[in-house]
Each structure stands twice: as structure tokens, then as C-alpha cells.
């Protein structure tokens, strides 16, 4: 990992922790962006952590660009020493794989896809060496994922699967982006999963849909009444496959306010995970059983 610093115009400092995606890069980026926040530097207006990088927006009328750059750089050594542990939460997100809505959208934009003869899941299964879509789906939901960035648009989470690099599911984006994606589509691009928080354009492959809203500016969804955005970096996600009947049931419960997302507080220790991924993941997922 080699940290690279740059200005983004006269109002941003951009810090790339690593060119490659890894949990180590994510943890360092989070440790450093937290350190910048805790330092309460006058003139900083936004701190945006990303997968393997972060950005600080500043007001150059309050702090000179070189001063902010030096302050951010001075926090790197401490971030290297920071414990790679965090208290976070694991969330179970129900997913209706191979649902009719993302299927309809896939067919509408088929000419923009690498393999116009099949579905996005067929293609993903094939290029990742699985026998069929069902096997791919199994790999997708059997191990948990880490929210490594929230952004692009309104509260959209990017997720990185907690498996070794050889087991990462990798799928390219559409050849040319779609102009439409159903709200709450579970998508995939590169090594990242995402949930489209709102309807709109998108280039990620579409695998399914969740009935669970994750962005609600109108504060109608009960569990989003404290704040309109559900996810934050560091959240851990376990996908739970559901069928149409369960999808309809959850949708009805969200409407009448009775749906409570399954969320449990957990501790995540990167060193322990690096030592024994399977056992660490199993323990994380067990926490959900007891909920």
C-alpha cells in the first residue's frame, strides 16, 4: 500500500490509500478519515471516506491548502498504528433474487449487455466459474459483506465481500449504462455489490431486489425516521434470499410500520478475520440467529 496525496482543485484534498481494493486499505482509509474528523481542523467542511481512499473538502479562505495538506499527512503515521478493530452492526437484508422487475429491466436494456442471450446472473455465474445462476446466488449470500463506501447518489452503499481475493465475485459493468434501474435493485460491478437507493441510471449488473427501503427523504418508513439514510461505512451485511410471497409480506409490513430490520451489534477485528476468515464470518452470522 502506498498513500498518494493530491489536491482536487482549490477546495479538496484527495488521499488514495491504495490503487487496489482490500480490507486493509479500507481500514486505513477509515482510520485516517476518522482521525481527520477527530482533529476538528478549522476550515474543513466535508470528510468523505471511500473504498480505498478518502476526500476532505476545505474552505481555502479559512485554511491555506498547504496547511491542510500537511495536517492530513501528519495523521497518517497514527492511522498506521490504529487498531484494526471496530464495533459495528450486522444487518440482514432480504433479497428476492431473479425477481420480475429487474428481469424486465434487463430485457429492456439487453443490447447494452456483454451477453444479450442470457440474464445478468447467468453471465455472472459463467464468468466466475459457477455451473449456474443458483450456484452463484449461493456464493453471493452465504458469506457476509462489508459496506466500504456510501455514495454515488443518495445513501447508496458499496459492499465488499468478506472472502479471500480468489473468491471475490467479479463482474464488469454493462457495456453502456442503462437509463433506468428499479429502486432497491441489488447490483454488482467490479468486485463491489450495491443497493440502488433510488430509481435511476446505472451500469451495475442486476441480481435481485430488496423490499427494504434504505433511503427515505419523506420519513415514512418507520426505521428511517431518525435519519433518512440507512447505511454507513463499516456496516456488515448478510443477504437473506427470499421468495415472492416473503417479498410481498415484508413490503406490506413496511407499509403498516411493523417491519423491524434484523440488526445486531458486533465487533469486527481485521487481524482475527485475516487469520481465520471462515470462523470469523460464522461468528458474525451467528449473531443474527440469536437476534
Amino acid at each position: 500500500m502506498k498513500t498518494r496525496y493530491s489536491f482536487g482543485g482549490d477546495e479538496h484534498v484527495y488521499v488514495e490509500i491504495d490503487e487496489e481494493m482490500s480490507l486493509d486499505a479500507f481500514f486505513k482509509s477509515m482510520a485516517m478519515s476518522n482521525a481527520v474528523r477527530d482533529a476538528k481542523i478549522d476550515g474543513i467542511t466535508e470528510i468523505c471516506p471511500a473504498n480505498a481512499s478518502f476526500q476532505v473538502k476545505f474552505n481555502p479562505d479559512i485554511i491555506a491548502p498547504d496547511d491542510i495538506m500537511n495536517k492530513v499527512k501528519s495523521l497518517e503515521a497514527a492511522a498506521n498504528m490504529a487498531e484494526k478493530k471496530m464495533t459495528t452492526r450486522i444487518v440482514e437484508i432480504p433479497v428476492f433474487y431473479q425477481d420480475p422487475w429487474t428481469h424486465e429491466t434487463q430485457m429492456r436494456f439487453r443490447e447494452r449487455h456483454q451477453d444479450p442471450t442470457g440474464t445478468d446472473l447467468d453471465y455472472a455465474a459463467k464468468i466466475n466459474g459457477f455451473k449456474n445462476a443458483e450456484e452463484f446466488i449461493e456464493a453471493h449470500h452465504s458469506q457476509p459483506w462489508f459496506v466500504s463506501m456510501v455514495g454515488f447518489v443518495s445513501g447508496l452503499p458499496f459492499l465488499f465481500q468478506l472472502v479471500e481475493r480468489e473468491k471475490q465475485l467479479q463482474v464488469p459493468k454493462y457495456l453502456s449504462p442503462r437509463t433506468d434501474t428499479p429502486k432497491l435493485t441489488v447490483g454488482h460491478g467490479g468486485c463491489f455489490a450495491c443497493i440502488y437507493s433510488v430509481r435511476g441510471a446505472g451500469g451495475y449488473q442486476m441480481f435481485g431486489i430488496t423490499p427494504m427501503p434504505i433511503y427515505d427523504p419523506e420519513a415514512k418508513v418507520k426505521y428511517l425516521q431518525d435519519f433518512m439514510v440507512f447505511f454507513k461505512p463499516g456496516d456488515i451485511v448478510k443477504w437473506k434470499p427470499i421468495n415472492q410471497a416473503e417479498y410481498d409480506q415484508i413490503t406490506a409490513e413496511i407499509e403498516d410500520g411493523s417491519y423491524v430490520p434484523k440488526i445486531v451489534e458486533v465487533n469486527f477485528d481485521l487481524d482475527a478475520w485475516n487469520k481465520d476468515k471462515v470462523a470469523t464470518n460464522a461468528k458474525l452470522m451467528e449473531a443474527l440467529h440469536d437476534a
Partner: protein
């Protein structure tokens, strides 16, 4: 105090100075694309500089006043009419209940700002009235205005009229427009020859221009420095592991057509960026019409800060002139 929208033009939205502080959640600052024009329009009618106004692009709206008030229009050049009679731009004047505000054809620039005494008084979302339709925030129920809307105005007690911005302090981009760029971010990803060529080429504003970003075409396709694609980045040489985008940053998907992200920017993504347009020139971008010839000018940080200071001095001058 209300306004009744008879025609909404092409795309007219409520904007103020935006909602900074939520970019880490993918919610951009939004707000006026030409902040200078919004500030001056507000000053002319006696409002706080950040009061909410209407931003109209290319085509003006038609509005009926349901009460007496004062208004001012700044930004792009578009004839203003009250009951069909042409009024001064960059100036504040009184209007009466029942009168109709309409506009002639756009002559210069792209966006006009209509300030009303008291400011537009729609509900705040995350501290701002600015419309961000993707996230359904601000505006009227999270959307741009449409014919039939009724828009509330705030307290009229500080209303001013009869003020005017001296012509030398009104601001519009020249043709060809110069946009000053501070190279950085992933600048090292392109060859030295492409780095030079980018600033030599004549670019043109593409029709795909909105509040999220403005695309440019007509320049030479980029050459990239060779690399092994980093894990998670994607195979195209213009891909990176998804990171944050700076406001004003210039991404060049597949090395073909540069896109400058503006006030409704996506907060991040998987395309490399070659640097960013300096803060002093961001307002200009909001006034670019499609097909406008554009030159990118390379600057360093010192020049960027100097330009920023010049812009601030201009606003200070306007404040002084209007206070006299």
C-alpha cells in the same frame, strides 16, 4: 405571499446556496449553479444572499403574482417582461398583485436567477431549500416546479427596489469560454503528450449538460500510461477503485469525452479524474450553452487562490455599491 406558476419553462427549480455536509452519504450540495448571480439577485431585493430563488435554464417561466412584491433577475441575458413590458435586468423593481412575469428568448449565458423579496419560503430539507430531484430533496416535494404550483414567499418587511448592479460588475463568460483547471487527482494516469494536448485542444460543450455535470467534446482521445488493472478497479484504463469525486473534477470515461461534475455531482464512482476546475470558475460553467467553444487553461494553486480572491473582491464591491 405567493407566486402562481403559469408556465414552468424548460427546467426551473428552487435553489439557494445548497446543503453542504452530506456528500459522504451521496447527497451533493446542490444550490445555484451560478452562485454569484444568485447572491446578487438576492442583494438587489434586500434578501440574505443565500435566500432561495428560482433558477431557470434556457427558457424563462411565466409567473403570476398573488401579492405586491419586489423582484430582480440576474445571470444569463434574457429579456424580462411585466405584463408584456420589458424591464431592466440586474435591477430590482416593484410588481403588483395580478401582474404577470414572463421572459423573451435567451440572448447570452444559460441560466437566470429570479429573486423575490422575502425569498422563497418552501420547507427546508437538511438545512436547504435547493432542489435535488434524484434524492427527492428540497424544491416542491423534492422536484422542480411545474405549471399550477403555488410558491410561498417569506417576510416582505426588508424588501428593496430600484437598485441596480453596475454593468462592469455583471458577469458572464466570454466566447470562447476559458475554464481554469488545476491538474491533479489521477493526472499521472495519462501520457505527457495527452496532458499537453488537453490544454491545446478546442473543446465544445456537448448537449448533455445538466446540474450534475457538463460534458465536452471535440478534443483528442486520451492516451493512458500502461498499467496492470489494480484489483477491484475494472479493466478499462480509465477505471479506478470507486472513490470520491471533487466538485469541479474532470472525469474522462474511456478517455473520450471529459465531464465536469457540478453542484448536483454524484459523490463518487469508478472513473479516473485529471484534476478540477478552480472554484472561481465554477459559476461560469452554469452559464455555458451547448456548442460553446471552450479552452481549458492550466493553472497552479497560487493562481487558483488569486482568482478566488478576485471573485470575492467583486462581490465585496457590489455589496458596497448597493449599500451606498
Amino acid at each position: 405571499m405567493t407566486l402562481k406558476i403559469i408556465k414552468h419553462g424548460l427546467s426551473t427549480s428552487i435553489q439557494d446556496l445548497g446543503r453542504p455536509g452530506y456528500f459522504h452519504l451521496g447527497i451533493p450540495m446542490s444550490g445555484a449553479m451560478d452562485r454569484f448571480a444568485l447572491r446578487t439577485a438576492n442583494m438587489l431585493v434586500g434578501n440574505d444572499e443565500g435566500a432561495a430563488c428560482l433558477e431557470a435554464v434556457f427558457l424563462g417561466p411565466e409567473i403570476e403574482f398573488e401579492q405586491d412584491t419586489c423582484i430582480a433577475v440576474t445571470g444569463g441575458e434574457m429579456p424580462i417582461k411585466i405584463d408584456g413590458i420589458v424591464q431592466e435586468t440586474w435591477s430590482s423593481f416593484k410588481v403588483k398583485k395580478g401582474q404577470i412575469l414572463s421572459f423573451g428568448f435567451l440572448l447570452k449565458g444559460a441560466r437566470i436567477y429570479i429573486a423575490f423579496a422575502g425569498g422563497i419560503d418552501t420547507p427546508l430539507d437538511l438545512g436547504s431549500r435547493s432542489t435535488y430531484p434524484i434524492g427527492a430533496l428540497g424544491g416542491i416535494n423534492g422536484r422542480a416546479i411545474i405549471a399550477g404550483d403555488t410558491i410561498p414567499l417569506g417576510d416582505q418587511s426588508r424588501a428593496k427596489s430600484g437598485l441596480s448592479i453596475p454593468p462592469e460588475l455583471r458577469r458572464l463568460p466570454n466566447k470562447p469560454a476559458d475554464l481554469r483547471v488545476l491538474p491533479g487527482l489521477y493526472w499521472h494516469r495519462i501520457t505527457e503528450q495527452t496532458q499537453d494536448q488537453f490544454f491545446m485542444d478546442d473543446w465544445k460543450v456537448a448537449p448533455e449538460a445538466d446540474r450534475m455535470g457538463v460534458r465536452f467534446k471535440g478534443g483528442t482521445e486520451f492516451n493512458f500510461v500502461d498499467r496492470e488493472p489494480p484489483f477491484g478497479a475494472g479493466s478499462d484504463p480509465s477505471n479506478i477503485v470507486d472513490g470520491c469525486y471533487s466538485y469541479g473534477s474532470i472525469q474522462v470515461p474511456a478517455g473520450k469525452e471529459p465531464i465536469i461534475l457540478h453542484r448536483d455531482a454524484v459523490s463518487g464512482g469508478g472513473y479516473f479524474t485529471i484534476g478540477a476546475v478552480i472554484s472561481a470558475d465554477m459559476d461560469y460553467i452554469g452559464q455555458l450553452q451547448p456548442h460553446t467553444p471552450v479552452k481549458f487553461i492550466k493553472v497552479n494553486m497560487e493562481q487558483a487562490l488569486e482568482a478566488r480572491k478576485e471573485r470575492q473582491d467583486m462581490l465585496t464591491k457590489i455589496r458596497t455599491v448597493l449599500d451606498e
